[in-house]
Amino acid sequence: MAPVNSAQSSDAAAQSSAALRFASQSANTLFSLFITFIGLLAVTFLISRVIPIDPVTAILGERATGEQIAALTQKLGLNDPLWKQFGIYVWDVFHGDLGQSVRTRDPVLTEIGRYFPATLELSTLGILIGVIVGIPAGVLGATKPGSWRDLFVRLVGLMGYSMPVFWLGLMGLLLFYGELGWVGGPGRLDSMYEMMIDVTVPPVTHMILIDTALAGEWDMFWNALSHIILPASLLGYLSMAYISRMTRSFMMNELGQEYITTARVKGMPERRVVWVHAMRNVAVPLITVVALSYAYLLEGAVLTETIFAWPGLGRYITDALLVADMPAVLGGTIVVGAVYIGINMLSDFLYRLADPRAR
């Protein structure tokens, strides 16, 4: 009986120490997340102080008097020492106060809350398309490197990467909307539905696809889908280039491993070899790649949003930048940055969870 007991207890000990390690690593991760976020705030704060745009005149406008300027400067705390201003800044951010837009005088957080769901909807669909097309494309290239289909996949991917976004977007719109009429036009819905949506669909998530599905408004759902499919495909195409390339690279490395050769020699069908065994190991670093692309889409879809009149965060931040609405710019930057850090940490987490070697 003794050996069994000791085996059991050593198992339990091993398990609990693994759990402890996992917990401490997670705590570490969260701490890093926090530090990175503070760093992000520091950089945005620095930028806001260094940019040669005077916030006071920006708020009060051209016709401000000397006393008005002095009063507002005092009120905004611009006369306090820099570290104190930073402290107040951090405090405000953690209380959800990202300041007021200079242009509209609405709270920045409210404005961002308005545009973020649209960006989220578009980027999520985009990354899904990118993954669904990109990963198989990469595998296709990896299994026959140097072949015509490999070259084809790489060329198509490269085109998405090096042709300017607006070119692809406008040409796509011209072809699929203008000439063929296969998809809906710019905006999230047809004008008829835009007029109805506030009345018939309760805004649960502010993402039209989800809200209309929840409300059972299927006409609107299909209409919204027809409007989102083209910009999402565009974003998907852009991320597909990177995803397929990395998949190809990882898969090629993996297929050169000994265990793959062994499996092949043993007579395992190629499909299983690639998609079950190799993919299992490739999936792990691929998560990081997908996370990176997702975050990139969330931040940078400005041109897509402009062409397709999509009321998203990219447009919001860029427009604010062009009129020097610094609170809006920095608020948007913090939100995007925070989401990015979050996604990154999540992918690190999943990576560690999935890959025993990395523990």
């Binding site: 494309a137 296969w182 004008s191 499919i229 020097a324």
Partner: protein, 532 residues
């Protein structure tokens, strides 16, 4: 085979797209019959409260949801009675009496009274947002406005602080800030003393043909017609203004008939629509004027012959015919067409030989002009053309391109050398441009008078300052007109300003759309007369 999986995927995707798009898209080929769908760039809207709205898109909405005492006829652009059916000014020149039109109601059903009118003007002054200065010019402040503007029954009495030209007051009363709001409704939505400023961002309380149903920033504005509009009910029951910032996208939409009116097209898009039988294009002028100005802190720009040389080295017509086609018309004085006293003549044109001769006479050797310009496409195009023609005349131009805010900052601090700018009028009276182009009471650095364009360029207009100040007090409209004509002539021959263009606006409409008025230089857009 190796291509099969790929082909299958492509096929599936195409099929999905077809299924998704084909059915609903086929149904929605045209816009709903009772809705006017407009594609425009409306991201400039800050607020739809008439006391705060000051940008083009905001004023377009305000023009259709509110009315003022004095109105502008959409078709003729002439002043006509609005909510006041008649008015007069006493001999003292400072007391005005307005008789309110009878039987007009707000969209809420409340009657329009002189008290409501007085309240509206008082409110605009007290809320004190950007356009309040238009009213403050008449000596109204938050402290005195309750006494200066009073209304009882159907009579509104306005007192101003100086005997201004009456046309000055009437013109200003057509501005959006002087809209009459429903006092009772406004008072119920007051939050913390803001006089409903927050509530009016998303709701309307006016007499206009339409009521503001919804406003989603950067997405769209929905207007709904109200029954019982005093000018006759709007013909189209709904207006949906969709925010489409990309001109090429708007073009596709109007070609397909998914919008009825497209307002933000570029001249290239308009040219591309030329053969299209379903789309017609209407050209109108806007209020913005394009000009070059030179900082007279640089002695070179005080040289009269040098300034003249530059005036003849610009290809006004060439630019208006090619790179700026449809976006501008040549215009060479500071009052835009449509304003009282505007001049239509074009004395200057491209004459390189003349420019060279004048340059030689001026005695300036190897001049270098550093031209600061905002990085918008049209400005870049104009400045490159100027660089080219000035170069041919022997004047080197260095382009300094920057962000709008940055360029403006330098300009206001008198740090520029030369700059290409536009100026949009603040209100529909000639004083708005005259006071800024031709007046400069104190040219010193300390004065910090950035409100005057003349000050920004360190330019002392001399006798024109007094002349312009006198013109705003001239009670005879005909005399006033002549005064502005004279000031403009002197200005364009002697000042370091070169007026080049006036904005032109091209609106594309489906050929079944009639009755749309964009408002020219003095008014905003009007939707209630549109049919389709």
């Amino acid at each position: 085979m190796s291509f099969l999986p790929l082909a299958r995927k492509a096929g599936a995707a195409t099929l999905a797209a077809l299924l998704l798009g084909a059915a609903p898209a086929a149904l929605m080929a045209a816009t709903p019959a009772d809705t006017l769908v407009i594609a425009a760039a409306i991201d400039d809207i800050v607020s739809l409260d008439p006391a705060e709205a000051y940008e083009f898109s905001g004023l377009d909405v305000v023009n259709n949801t509110y009315d003022g005492l004095v109105e502008i006829n959409p078709a003729t652009l002439a002043l006509e009675p609005g909510l006041a059916e008649s008015w007069s000014v006493a001999d003292d020149g400072v007391t005005y009496t307005f008789k309110m039109k009878a039987g007009v109601t707000f969209a809420s059903g409340n009657p329009v009274t002189a008290e409501a009118a007085a309240y509206s003007l008082q409110r605009a002054v007290k809320v004190n947002k950007t356009p309040a200065f238009i009213l403050n010019q008449f000596g109204w402040t938050a402290e005195n406005v309750d006494a200066m503007i009073t209304g009882a029954g159907d009579t509104l009495t306005l007192k101003v602080d100086k005997p201004f030209a009456p046309t000055f007051l009437y013109n200003c009363l057509t501005a959006g800030v002087a809209s009459i709001v429903d006092a009772e409704t406004v008072k119920t939505h007051d939050v913390g003393g803001d006089m409903a400023n927050e509530w009016l961002k998303n709701n309307s309380a006016g007499t206009g043909a339409y009521v503001l149903k919804s406003y989603k920033p950067n997405e769209g504005v929905i207007l709904e017609a109200r029954p019982g509009y005093w000018r006759g009910d709007a013909i189209l029951k709904n207006v949906f203004i969709q925010h489409i910032p990309e001109a090429a996208t708007e073009r596709l939409q109007i070609e397909k008939g998914d919008v009825d009116i497209a307002r933000a097209l570029t001249p290239t898009d308009v040219a591309g629509l030329e053969g299209n039988a379903d789309v017609s294009v209407v050209t109108d002028v806007g209020g913005q004027v394009y000009y070059l100005s030179f900082n007279q802190k640089n002695e070179m720009y005080k040289n009269a012959k040098f300034l003249d040389a530059m005036r003849w080295a610009i290809d006004y017509q060439g630019m208006a015919d090619t790179i700026m086609k449809g976006a501008v018309i040549p215009h060479q004085s500071f009052l835009p067409q449509g304003y009282l006293g505007a001049l239509d003549d074009l004395p200057y044109s491209l004459d390189i030989e003349k420019a060279k001769a004048l340059l030689a006479e001026s005695g300036v050797k190897d001049p270098v002009v550093t031209l600061t310009v905002r990085n918008a496409a049209d400005r870049m195009d104009i400045s490159q053309s100027i660089q080219n023609t000035f170069g041919q005349a022997g004047i080197k131009v260095d382009l300094k391109v920057g962000e709008g805010a940055e360029v403006l900052k330098d300009y206001r601090a008198r740090l520029h050398d030369a700059t290409l700018q536009t100026w949009g009028p603040d209100y529909p009276d000639p004083n708005t441009n005259s006071s800024t182009f031709a007046e400069n009471p104190d040219n010193s650095d300390e004065a910090g008078a950035t409100g005057y364009l003349a000050w920004r360029n360190a330019y002392d207009p001399g006798a024109m300052t007094a002349a312009s100040q006198a013109a705003v007090m001239e009670r005879d409209p005909e005399k006033r007109k002549v005064m502005y004509a004279d000031i403009q002539k002197t200005h364009r021959e002697t000042s370091p300003f070169i007026l080049m263009f006036q904005q032109a606006r091209q609106t594309a409409m489906r050929s079944n759309v009639q009755g749309f008025y964009a408002g020219g230089a003095v008014d905003a857009a009007s939707f209630w007369l549109v049919t389709k």
